[in-house]
């Protein structure tokens, strides 16, 4: 499709640029580790932002090439090199760009670039400035690897790589031990998911090796799996569930969601980029990528939908009570991710990806706004000490408002279209209860987001420090993202509203069943849209009136349902339960039973030292014969002599 060989390697450059940025920034970070050179920050800024932007431009080029090529076409560059080459399995290090990848590439590099720019302001003057950009660039590299790989193993490289970057960035301010702990928790919880992911890969291999006679060993390639998906009929459910375990880890679903709220310990741009816009959607991306497998496994899809729905509900309810601005947004993210899984579960991967895109816009914007607020208020994160900031930081406030409206699902902002599409599919393709819960959650979303907005930006200022001035480098990306949150939904305007639902057609190849708007449902769809818009507006208004006009009501409400409030605000005690069920017993078992008991007492104490003791006792007994008296020895000698003579005589 592309003539020159150099151009055909272009997709590798997309990932290569951030890697280059990482290398340069690492060198800067290490060389000037101790004494920061004055010019280093400018260099880091330049390198750190330039390469993501270059990657974005290249992504745009790839996207437009793909856009202009006939349907069903994918950009498939030649393999960079053969990575793994064994008797039963070969894996190429190779990229592939199809519409799904292209969409994600634009989101990752686009939003990523904006956040890189934003961070130049937010991280200004930090001791680890170069290190920060090195990690951020590295993250972008791995994220691109994740979405651009043409096989499961390259995806897994990116998958683990972004996990590593997430670990490093959450614990970026490592001198605070709590933050370092949060990073570790994120990594380990993710690893539990990865365990499932790996088992999925093994099962795929097993299925091929036991059934396929093909001599082609590239069977971790998506295209290969897709071609041979009829081999998976019996195993599909198991494989799909294994992969979902991985997705639940990365995308923070029950039961592995616990790391994401803690991940807020990282710098806020990181929360925006990794823990809202890009990395946490990797699970959704992966399932969408393997959707042909999931279609073979209706049970697995059910599980995905149920888990997604439960997570959405649970996280949204926790978000109602949080007082840390970033924690609210974190639980909101978990909840929105639940929505995306719901979409996947009810057979609408297009809607899920659509929501990934719009969510990337408005949630990144929300996090960056939160970052601005935190920056402006001298690292104050508690919303009880905020309020009335609308006049003081107008750009941020306006952007926050736009994004809040967007996430609440009020038309015609981005969130409305994507969320409505999900709810519509839930309505038509799943039991009614799914829709009802989803509907409820959308109200909760609107409620807690407006609660947050009201408490932070409206009313009277409850803090005591005068807010900072915000640099342009921070305001500009926020403004751009706000605009995107405003208009981003128009890539998927449903037909019923006169649009063409471009993103749905663009990604139609994901599922075999066409989930476009069926004419018969047009009436229903309009009604549903109306109801949910109204519902969002009502809950928004409730939040306004409750927190702005009658704040004392919230107090009485809190006192009325003290126990319920405690349960929710302590996050249903899930962390404590995990700690009590898994962590402590395991540490206790390892320490007391395995180490002290098994290793030191039984193996070493009884067996090893037992042998030593037995030989010691034996030698003590035998050494009694060595009395030291010459006479004794002579007696033994003579007795021996007599014995020998006797033996000779008799025998």
């Amino acid at each position: 499709m592309m003539e020159s060989t150099f151009l055909s390697y272009l997709p590798y450059c997309v990932a290569g640029f951030p890697l280059l940025g990482f290398v340069i920034n690492t060198l800067v970070a290490l060389l000037w580790a101790k004494n920061q050179k004055p010019g280093s920050e400018a260099l880091v800024k330049l390198v750190g932002c330039l390469f993501p932007i270059l990657a974005f431009i290249l992504s745009l080029i790839c996207f437009s090439i793909l856009r202009n090529s006939p349907e069903g076409m994918v950009i498939s560059p030649p393999a960079l090199f053969r990575w793994i080459d064994t008797a039963l399995l070969t894996v190429d290090f190779r990229f592939m760009i199809d519409p799904l990848t292209a969409t994600m590439m634009l989101v990752v590099t686009g939003v990523g670039s904006l956040i890189h720019i934003y961070a130049t302001g937010y991280m200004h003057g930090d001791q680890g400035f170069a290190r920060f950009y090195a990690y951020l660039n590295l993250f972008l590299f791995f994220m691109l690897l994740l979405i651009m790989g043409n096989n499961l193993l390259v995806l897994f490289v990116g998958w683990e790589g972004v996990g590593l970057c997430s670990y490093l960035l959450i614990g970026f301010w490592f001198t605070d031990e709590e933050k370092a702990k949060c990073g570790k928790k994120a990594f380990i919880v993710n690893r539990i998911g990865d365990f499932g992911f790996l088992l999925g890969i093994f099962l795929v291999m097993h299925t091929f090796l036991s059934q396929s006679q093909s001599s082609d060993l590239n069977f971790l390639d998506y295209s290969f799996i897709a071609q041979h998906k009829d081999l998976f009929l019996s195993e599909a459910t198991l494989i799909a569930l294994c992969f979902f375990a991985g997705a639940a880890g990365k995308s923070a679903q029950i039961p592995l969601y616990v790391w994401l709220p803690d991940a807020m310990a990282g710098p806020t741009p990181v929360s925006a980029l990794i823990h809202a816009a890009t990395m946490v959607t990797a699970g959704i991306f992966m399932i969408a990528r393997l959707y042909f497998l999931y279609e073979l496994a209706p049970v697995a899809l059910q599980v995905v939908a149920i888990i997604g729905l439960l997570t959405a509900l649970m996280a949204a309810s926790i978000a109602l009570t949080q007082t840390d601005i970033k924690k609210v947004l974190a639980y909101s993210t978990v909840s929105q991710l639940g929505y995306m899984f719901l979409a996947l579960g009810v057979g609408a991967p297009q809607a899920a990806i659509f929501h990934v895109v719009t969510h990337a816009f408005f949630k990144a914007c929300l996090f960056l706004c939160a970052g601005s607020v935190i920056y402006a208020l001298h690292h104050q994160q508690d919303i009880r000490h905020m309020g009335g900031l609308f006049k003081k930081i107008p750009v941020t406030s306006l952007a926050f408002l736009v994004s809040t409206i967007a996430i609440a699902g009020i038309p015609p902002l981005a969130g409305f279209f994507s969320k409505d599409e999900i709810l519509f599919h839930t309505f038509t393709h799943a039991p009614r209860i799914f829709y009802i819960v989803g509907f409820l959650v959308s109200g909760l979303t609107s409620f807690y987001m407006f609660r947050l907005f009201t408490l932070v930006f409206l009313g009277k200022y409850r803090g005591h420090l005068e807010p900072h001035y915000l640099p342009l480098a921070m305001d500009a990306p926020i403004a751009i993202l706000a605009v995107l949150a405003l208009v981003g939904g128009f890539i998927g305007v449903p037909e019923v509203l006169g649009g063409t639902n471009r993103i749905s057609h663009w990604l139609a190849f994901l599922s075999t069943e066409i989930h476009g708007e069926e004419v018969a449902h047009h009436g229903t769809e309009l009604i549903l849209m109306g109801i949910s818009s109204a519902w969002a507006l009502i809950t928004a208004f409730m939040a306004f009136s409750l927190y702005l006009k009658n704040p004392e009501w919230t107090k009485t409400l809190k006192e009325k349902c003290q126990q319920l409030y405690n349960l929710v605000s302590r996050k249903y005690y899930v962390d404590e339960i995990y700690d009590g069920i898994f962590v402590r017993p395991l540490v206790w078992l390892s320490h007391k039973f395995f180490w002290k008991g098994m290793d030191e007492a039984i193996i070493d104490g009884v067996m090893v030292h037992g042998f030593a003791d037995i030989s010691l006792v034996a030698s003590r007994i035998i050494s009694r014969f060595q009395s030291g008296f010459l006479g004794h020895y002579v007696v033994f000698f003579v007795l021996g002599l007599i014995g020998i003579m006797f033996y000779l005589a008799v025998g």
Binding site: L89, V157, F174, E177, F187, I192, L198, L586, I603
Partner: protein, 507 residues
């Protein structure tokens, strides 16, 4: 060139010993000179050993063979050769040795002459172990290697070194003496020969196989170490000097796995087939158990020692899976472990040189004082927990993916090791490097010197090279595995029950 090709292994085995004789005439006061010369000769040895790599033809059988009669009445030959597996193990030794000797310059201050001589003899005997194709010769090298290691721990070790070194010696001896008996028995049973290639051809009776396998397996299981035979390892590691730990973890442990691969499995296929389930169980226990115990250690070296138990359990799992990919992964993981654990021990040594403590609880926030050191440590950690693009991932992935094809349940249990390894290593990193700087004198801690940097750099390069482009390594391991699998092929095991009957009748 022909001359070198024919004698390269002998040169590799003999060169360090010859050099150590030269050292006899150097006065012991010349510590610098001794170290320098030892490092230099190890480097020359490494360059020699590269010859193996470049002229290796990958024919599938042993190459660079040299065979000379040694003790004629017993038909004992000096018979050496390498295949795709032992090739890399030899390279691993020659790669580690110069770096270890260089790093010892700053930490070994007493009895330098004895130290370098021990190290060089150790190098010779280790190379000998991996090259020997005559069982008697193998046994000689196997035992010779014990002596310098015993001295390394016992003379230059830590506080409790005498206990540790005697434990190490007796443990290993207990296994290897039984192996000697087995080797002698094999000599009579297997047609009066110690020649491994001839013994491969020979089929033994089932009962004989069983006993012989048990004797060999015990020796190797202690060395690996497999689960209940592992308690010498933490003690030896903790007390050994850094250089000893690196060699111990990097090379000595591989002799156990190599022994299974080269001797125990192919010589006694039917016995192996019978006992395989139990060995697999031990391997899996080792993975989980080692990881859990590593998690709660308070001494850095002990933690890494137990992590070795876990990693080597994985290697054994892959090896016992009898799946070509799994075995390839296992053999690859042997090299990986040598490098990643080796560098971890070197790193702990660097810190120990500065603070003279390995207690984890004493540290905290080192990353602030020693950023470059912390970076290196983190990279080594990543390799150890098998993060993609490091060597550990390729090994772990192939091992688990392969063994999943034949033994699923044990593999699933074993795969929890990837979670647990993250737990104990990251916890270690967190406690040592993150948080407030609370190490006594932490502010004045020196970041790594140029010398240490240069020592550590090759490891890091290799970690990424082997993780990103493993082909040069993996491609040479295919043929030996095929050979082993043919050796273990089912038509031989089908005879098993018949032979049991014969044995019973003979009694």
């Amino acid at each position: 060139m022909e001359l070198i090709n024919n004698h390269i292994l002998t040169i590799l085995i003999a060169f360090p010993v010859v050099v150590s004789f030269v050292f006899l005439i150097i006065p012991r006061e010349e510590k610098k000179l001794l170290m320098y010369l030892a490092g230099l000769s190890a480097l020359v040895e490494f360059i020699f050993s590269l010859h193996l790599y470049f002229y290796f033809k990958n024919t599938g059988s042993f190459e660079f063979i040299e065979i000379k009669p040694w003790i004629l009445t017993w038909k004992i030959n000096y018979f050496v050769g390498v295949d795709g597996v032992s090739l890399f193990l030899v390279l691993l030794i020659t790669f580690l040795m110069p770096l270890v000797l260089w790093s010892a310059c700053s930490s070994i201050k007493v009895r330098v002459k004895e130290f370098v001589v021990s190290m060089l003899i150790l190098e010779s005997s280790m190379i000998g172990v991996f090259c020997a194709l005559d069982l008697f010769l193998f046994y000689v090298f196997w035992e010779v290697m014990l002596v310098p290691m015993y001295l390394l721990i016992g003379v230059w070790g830590g506080k409790n070194r005498i206990y540790a070194t005697i434990k190490f010696f007796l443990y290993t001896m207990a296994g290897s003496v039984l192996m000697l008996v087995a080797i002698l028995f094999l000599y009579y049973q297997g047609g009066n020969t110690f020649n491994l290639v001839e013994l491969y051809e020979h089929t033994l009776g089932f009962t004989a196989q069983l006993w012989l396998f048990l004797a060999f397996a015990l020796a190797f299981a202690i060395k690996v170490p497999l689960f209940p035979f592992h308690t010498w390892l933490p003690d030896a590691h903790v007390e050994a000097p850094t250089s000893g730990s690196v060699i111990l973890a990097g090379v000595l442990l591989k002799m156990g796995t190599y022994g299974f691969f080269r001797f125990a499995m192919p010589l006694f296929p039917e016995a192996f087939d019978l006992l395989k389930p139990y060995l697999v169980i031990l391997a899996v226990i080792g993975i989980v158990y080692g990881a859990l115990v590593a998690m709660v250690q308070t001494d850095m070296k002990k933690l890494i020692a137990y992590s070795s138990v876990s990693h080597l359990g994985l290697v054994m799992l892959g090896l016992f899976s009898l799946n070509p990919t799994g075995m390839q992964g296992a053999l690859y993981q042997m090299l990986n472990h040598g490098i990643s654990t080796g560098v971890l021990f070197l790193l702990v040594g660097v810190l120990y040189d500065r603070t003279h403590s390995r207690e984890i609880s004493l540290y905290g926030g080192i990353a602030k004082a020693m950023p470059i050191y912390a970076t290196f440590f983190l990279l080594a950690t990543m390799a150890s927990i098998g993060l993609p693009l490091t060597n550990g991932f390729v090994g772990e992935f192939l091992t688990l993916a392969g063994s999943f094809q034949t033994i699923q349940i044990p593999t699933i249990i074993g795969a929890t090791g990837i979670v647990l390894s993250a737990v104990y290593m990251l916890w270690l990193v967190e406690r040592v490097f993150f948080g407030k700087l609370k190490t006594p004198g932490g502010q004045t801690l020196l970041d790594i010197t140029r010398q240490e940097f240069l020592i550590l750099l090759p490891f890091i390069i290799l970690i990424f090279w082997m993780g990103i482009y493993p082909k040069p390594f993996l491609s040479k391991m295919n043929r030996p595995i095929e050979n082993l699998l043919i050796q273990l092929a089912p038509e031989q095991t089908e005879e098993g029950p018949v032979q049991i009957h014969e044995e019973i009748h003979m009694r």
